[in-house]
């Protein structure tokens, strides 16, 4: 099965993140990942799509250097991952904002930890707060924001440190469907504007097909890559037209069929 993953990714020479034979067994004995191999091409958005509990968060945290694999290795730009690094930034599923800090301080927090001077980091953070559509909210606190707005602060924080690789763990799960669509479109703009590699965990097949250059379908635990799909849908038409595009619908259908065998 993993032969498929390699066959697809080897035709791309520029690999940002490479996961090699990673196995993760949690202390309790749960085997979350089994011999997982997958490559993430530079400058693209790759989605990780798979059933709940299949180890997507585990994989993302291993890439982030927050968890150690039981065996196997991860390389980012050819260098082995031994811990968190400057070239990677994480967008947390539960936002991980500091309730005592304003939007501005939260967005600038990555830079604050790096020791960037206050005026400079605030200027950078303001730019990204604006980019995620939160201009004017700089001085509010997280409890004064909606879930979707908090998520965008988390995104601004990740963008502000200017990492090459963005690891996003179900970033849109906390918002309603309309907001979600708006976010997906915003995300496409960010992907276009910033020459970054995005690794994006989602539960939603439609979302994966809509936003990604490639989709990795994961098997249930212990997880491996079952298939990599490149949804070459047209991007030059309006979002609504894309969602009615037969090519788009076909791919959604195909993924659904692939995943359904595991659900049953």
């Amino acid at each position: 099965m993993s032969a498929v993953a390699e066959a697809v990714s080897t035709d791309k020479t520029d690999i940002a993140v490479s996961v090699n034979d990673v196995t993760k067994i949690y202390p309790g004995g749960v085997e979350a990942l089994n011999d997982m191999t997958i490559q993430f091409p530079k400058g693209e958005l790759t989605s990780l799509l798979g059933p709940s509990g299949c180890g997507k968060t585990t994989l993302l945290k291993i890439i982030a250097g927050l968890l150690e694999p039981t065996s196997g290795s991860v390389t980012v730009n050819g260098k082995n991952v031994t811990g968190p690094g400057k070239e990677r930034a994480f967008v947390f599923q539960d936002f991980a904002l500091m309730p005592w800090a304003s939007v501005l301080r939260n967005a600038a927090f990555g830079l604050e930890l790096q020791g960037v001077a206050k005026s400079e980091r605030h200027a950078i953070a303001e730019k990204y707060i604006d980019a995620v559509g939160l201009k004017g909210y700089e001085n509010l606190y997280p409890h004064e924001l909606s879930g979707g707005m908090r998520q965008r602060v988390g995104l601004a924080r990740a963008l502000a440190v200017n990492a090459e690789v963005l690891l996003m763990d179900e970033p849109f799960s906390a918002v309603d469907e309309q907001t979600r669509r708006k976010f997906q479109e915003d995300l496409l703009t960010v992907v276009d504007d910033e020459q970054k590699t995005f690794i994006f965990v989602t539960h939603s097949i439609e979302e994966a097909v809509y936003v990604s250059q490639s989709i990795a379908l994961l098997l249930p635990r212990p997880s491996r890559v079952s298939e990599i799909i490149r949804p070459d849908i047209r991007r030059d038409i309006s979002p609504d037209a894309i969602r009615r595009d037969p090519v788009y619908l076909d791919i959604v259908e195909r993924i659904w069929k692939g995943l359904r065998t595991y659900v049953e």
């Binding site: 991980a96 800090a101 990555g110 930890l113 790096q114």
Partner: protein
Amino acid sequence: MSSFLKHPLTLRLLSVIIAAGAWEYLGRIPISPAFPTFLQTMSALGGMIADGSMVSVYPATFQPLLIGLIISSILGIACGVFMGLNAKAEWFGAPVFIVLQSAPLAALIPLLTFAYGIGLTSKILTVCIMSMPVIVLNAYSAVRHTPTSMIEMGRSYLGSSRQIILKIIIPAASPVIYAGLRLGAAMGFIGAILAELLITPTGIGDLITYNQSIAEYDKMYAAIFSIMAFAVIFIEILERTEYFFFRPDKRVTQ
């Protein structure tokens, strides 16, 4: 009008009025000749403030109280935070403080006087042993319960251990640490009075015992009332400092 009714101060004022009313009523029955009414107590209080007999005793009470509270706050928070961060310290310290918190510490006071005499040291230590366990245990459990994702966030953005402790763990723990400080302060007030009742009668403790011995019950209750009022004010100020230093988000919505 409705905003006045909803104001938190209104509610507090109301509960004070109800308590004072109940006191006045019980005093008038009277439930005991040694139980003055609220108004008698207040006029005694006014008299003692006016003639200076109350003001002059407070420095003696506040000295061990404040020194003791400062020591147990600094030491207690440091111990608790350390125990929360370090598994070995937790293993060693947590049982000690859990036992101390539930033990009847007043029983230790004779031991203290045996070791340190009847001076200031014993009184400071009484305040410390009363107030420290709850401060330590709160700080410890607050640190232990810092949300993991917040710490992971700090690590993933390359925060040093020092930065993660100072910028994430302590502010996240501050509400519970402060709850411990408030409880510790209340215990410290008890400790200070106990020390004055059990070691040597000085300060407000002396005022209470003296007035009791000469059956001036209104003055005795005035002295008790005054120390309770001080405790409430002190704890209120403590709460404000938390909002000021650690939780600007709460200050905004106040």
